[in-house]
């Protein structure tokens, strides 16, 4: 170990965590207990020219290599739940399952991704991932009302407010959502909540596109190897009535498609009218599983064996149609995570430099190597 590294470890001794690094390839793991301590870790890292990758459950865009892995698990917990305002302030390290369990007692939901309940709120917000209910409720980004974070400047910044409607200044919360820790590390967020309806059903359908057109505000229209399903919620009479118009098999509750970990997961994102075409593209990929979100434009695909040329062809097909193919997990360093960089890359580069001038925060994670 070089002398510089050993003094970095010494300088971070107060925050040291003896657990695993959540899939981050890092020699030092820290778990600061407050946002000001997160800022302190950034300050120490910057003074050593070191890099940091934050992690919650460690499920998101790994693999990453950094000098320091920063666990958010000491930033867990519900900070301020206002049931009558339908808002909750929650620490980044809080697991989705714990938050939703607390909210469910008041028949509320934060509408966070359904498929991996052990993920953390900070991880979901930083990755910008939205769940299957996006068709009705919009993306996660639309529910992040306030964010408290430590930027690459080692300063504590609050953006937005604990209000369901607010246009006071530039929208820092939405900018941070999906920024993958590249501008700073999120310590807590205020989320907008929704009432959880009393009745939910899953209806099998033959043609997801026509179902999408015929039902009023379905929660989701998903297609997988198991078939196509429409998800409806509301009061019992209305849900039954809507389900009847679809003339498919109705089961109570939401039965989400089954997915399981595969060596590689890719997310195909296309204009919503191309989802059916996207599903046909998946045929070229030897997929273990796929879930297509009709009306949204996302087709997630699990791959066991990756053959780069067909995957590249699907990526180029997506890009030529205004979309993208993003590698979600480890295992494909030769292929690149993002594909073609956005036309706004010069602005993105300046934004990165203006929030993280020393390149401390998850360097290289954004398109264009930012």
């Amino acid at each position: 170990m070089s002398p510089a590294k050993s003094s970095l470890a010494a300088d971070l001794a107060d925050f040291r965590f003896d657990g695993d690094a959540g899939g981050v390839n890092a020699s030092i793991v820290v778990a600061p207990p407050s946002v000001s301590d997160v800022a302190r870790v950034i300050e120490v890292a910057a003074s050593h020219g070191a890099s940091i990758v934050p992690f919650g459950s460690g499920s998101t865009l790994a693999p990453s290599t950094a000098d320091i892995a920063l666990s958010t698990h000491r930033l867990a917990g519900i900070i301020d739940y206002q049931p009558d305002d339908l808002t909750v302030v929650v620490g980044a390290g809080t697991r989705l399952i714990d938050l939703e369990a607390e909210l469910a007692e008041r028949w509320h939901t934060a509408v966070l991704p359904e498929s991996s309940p052990n993920r953390t709120v900070g991880g979901v917000v930083a990755s910008g991932d939205s769940g299957y209910r996006r068709l009705k409720y919009g993306p996660t980004r639309d529910r992040v009302l306030e964010v408290t974070m430590a930027t690459g400047y080692a300063e504590v910044v609050r953006g937005g407010g604990r209000l369901v409607k607010n246009v006071t200044g530039y929208d820092i919360p939405r900018l941070m959502t999906g920024s993958l820790g590249s501008l700073g590390i999120i310590a807590s967020v205020c989320l907008k909540l929704w009432p959880a309806p009393s009745h939910r059903v899953t209806v099998g359908v033959e043609d997801p596109s026509s179902a999408l057109l015929s039902v009023y505000k379905p929660v989701a229209v998903l297609e997988s190897d198991a078939g196509s399903f429409v998800y409806l919620e509301g009061d019992e009479a209305t849900v039954s009535e809507q389900a009847a118009t679809l003339s498919g098999t109705v089961s109570n509750g939401f039965a989400w498609p089954e997915t399981y970990p595969t060596p590689v997961t890719v997310s195909l994102r296309v204009p919503a009218h191309l989802v059916a075409a996207g599903v046909r593209q998946v045929d070229h990929l030897d997929a273990e599983w796929f879930v297509a979100q009709h009306g949204v434009g996302v087709v997630d695909v699990g791959l066991a064996n990756v053959d780069i040329p067909p995957l590249d062809r699907v990526r180029r097909w997506a890009e030529s149609n205004g979309g993208s193919l993003v590698v979600m997990g480890p295992g494909l360093s030769s292929f690149g995570r993002w594909g073609a960089p956005p036309s706004s890359l010069p602005i993105q580069r300046r934004m990165k430099n203006l929030f993280d001038p020393s390149g401390v925060c998850h360097p290289g994670v954004l398109p264009g190597g930012l």
Partner: protein, 467 residues
């Protein structure tokens, strides 16, 4: 060559307005701020906008984009002599994607025109500000506009999927995309609501919302403001988010009734206008639930509009509120603070007290469901000291809202009007972070300068001495 000559060579003299009369018209929006316009230009293509931006950079004259000028915060008013880029000629509406429920439109398309155009295919653009028959989609993007129906559907940012943006350096980029979650930072989200300070939006991909199969509009009169506010809280707490939940006080109801005869109960201390949408069964269940909650809170008058004509009349009343105020006084000052909806009653009390103490005529009509207050002060600007008194009271009203956990603006934006109040909500460090967002788009500070952030917000240079 002079800037005007350069602009005229680019656009022709007809689309470069610099006659004193034109300049006077374009120097204001619908608020109380007057600016200084060098020339108002009317481009018709993205390339023309980019060329205008490059010309203004060469001449070092700032640029301010503008739609219909219905904004209230001075966002489209040049505070230092500037070129006003008026986007009302961008009125194209593209082909609707029926599966994705989206369409590319020009920023000059009028909000209500778009929804009317889409009515035959059962879709609409959800944001519906009171000015919707005049305001443009581009202006809605600029202010992240709201409206009564944003309670359930969210403000404009939730309805903009992508935008073509001419950057302050004159480049053309797309933020967001036709596909969701495009790689990289979500610049679309900061462009929406940035009041034309990050670039000029020349094309917008808007998300469209299904028209509801059924709708019911309830008009409910209460003996007190407290009872109406308690009903709002109880409805939300019961797990129901109505499509709209609007409140009006007695004075506003009287003004509206004199103006449009919407059938509002003039003897009530407060009136709620609630709307529920959905499948017919849902609408029946939800409107019964609201009626029950209202009765438990002493509702004295309750009517459910059954016909489209009756519904339209109830909404005409609500949307005519600001016109109705013109009867009370020649000018008005409209607030836009937002508070946690559970704090509505106490903040309302404080706001009435402030208006009384300043001897102001105040009427209230607001988006109660999301805590967005719109105290409206009617006055005569020709009376010496009147505007100053109104503005002094305004600062007090903002402060009581913020003390209750609220914020400066729910849907109108900050512009220049509320700019210097930003430190009431954000720390120096918070404001500096916002100033860096601006700088990332506009390193030279040429695009609609001096808006949103108070001067001196950028307190240290990039790579500076903090570390």
């Amino acid at each position: 060559m002079t800037l005007i000559a350069d602009l005229e060579r680019l656009l022709g003299p007809e689309r470069v307005r610099h006659h004193p009369l034109d300049l006077a018209v374009f120097a204001k929006d619908s608020g109380v701020v007057t600016g200084d316009v060098v020339a108002a230009v009317l481009p018709a293509t993205t390339q023309e906008v980019a060329a205008i931006v490059r010309l203004s950079n060469q001449h070092r004259v700032p640029i301010v984009p503008r739609g219909a000028g219905t904004g209230l915060a001075g966002g489209a008013v040049p505070t230092t002599p500037g070129i006003l880029v008026v986007l009302t000629r961008f009125t194209s509406i593209g082909e609707v994607d029926l599966i994705g429920r989206s369409v590319w439109v020009g920023p000059g398309v009028i909000n209500l025109d778009l929804s009317n155009e889409l009515a035959p295919i059962g879709l609409h653009f959800a944001p519906d500000p009171s000015s919707q028959s005049a305001c443009t989609i581009g202006g809605n993007v600029g202010t992240n506009a709201g409206g009564p129906h944003c309670l359930a559907d969210g403000t404009t940012v939730a309805h903009i999927l992508a935008a073509e943006l001419v950057t302050p350096e004159g480049d053309i980029v797309i933020v967001g995309g036709e596909a969701p979650d495009m790689p990289g930072l979500d610049l679309r989200a900061v462009v929406v609501g940035s009041e034309g300070t990050l670039g000029i939006v020349t094309k917008v991909l808007v998300r469209l919302t299904q028209n509801a199969p059924d709708v019911a509009t309830l008009l409910i009169g209460f003996p007190s403001v407290e009872d109406a506010a308690a009903t709002v809280s109880d409805v939300i707490a019961s797990g129901l988010i109505p499509a709209a939940l609007e409140m009006m006080d007695k004075r506003m109801v009287a003004a509206i009734e004199n103006f449009v005869h919407a059938g509002y109960p003039t003897d009530a201390a407060a009136v709620l206008l609630a709307e529920v949408t959905g499948a017919p069964g849902t609408v029946k269940v939800d409107s019964e639930r609201i009626s029950k909650i209202a009765k438990a809170n002493h509702a004295a008058h309750l009517r459910v509009a059954t016909s489209d004509t009756e519904r339209a009349l109830l909404w005409k009343g609500r949307k005519s509120a600001f016109g109705a105020v013109a009867q009370a006084a020649p000018d008005y000052y409209l607030h836009d603070t937002v508070v946690p909806r559970t704090r509505l009653v106490e903040v309302m009390h404080q706001i009435y007290e402030i208006a009384d103490r300043h001897e102001l005529t105040m009427l209230n009509v607001f988006h109660a469901g999301d805590g967005n207050l719109h105290p409206l002060v009617a006055f005569d600007a020709k009376e010496p000291g009147a505007l100053e008194a109104v503005q002094a009271a305004a600062v007090e009203m903002v402060k009581v809202s913020i003390d209750a956990g609220g914020s400066l603006s729910g849907e109108h934006g900050i512009g220049v009007e509320k700019r210097d109040l930003m430190p009431l909500v954000f720390s120096d460090v918070d404001l500096d972070a916002q100033a860096r967002v601006k700088e990332a788009f506009d390193p030279l500070g040429s695009m609609n300068p001096d808006k949103i952030l108070p001067q001196g917000s950028r307190c240290f240079d990039a790579g500076g001495a903090r570390l």
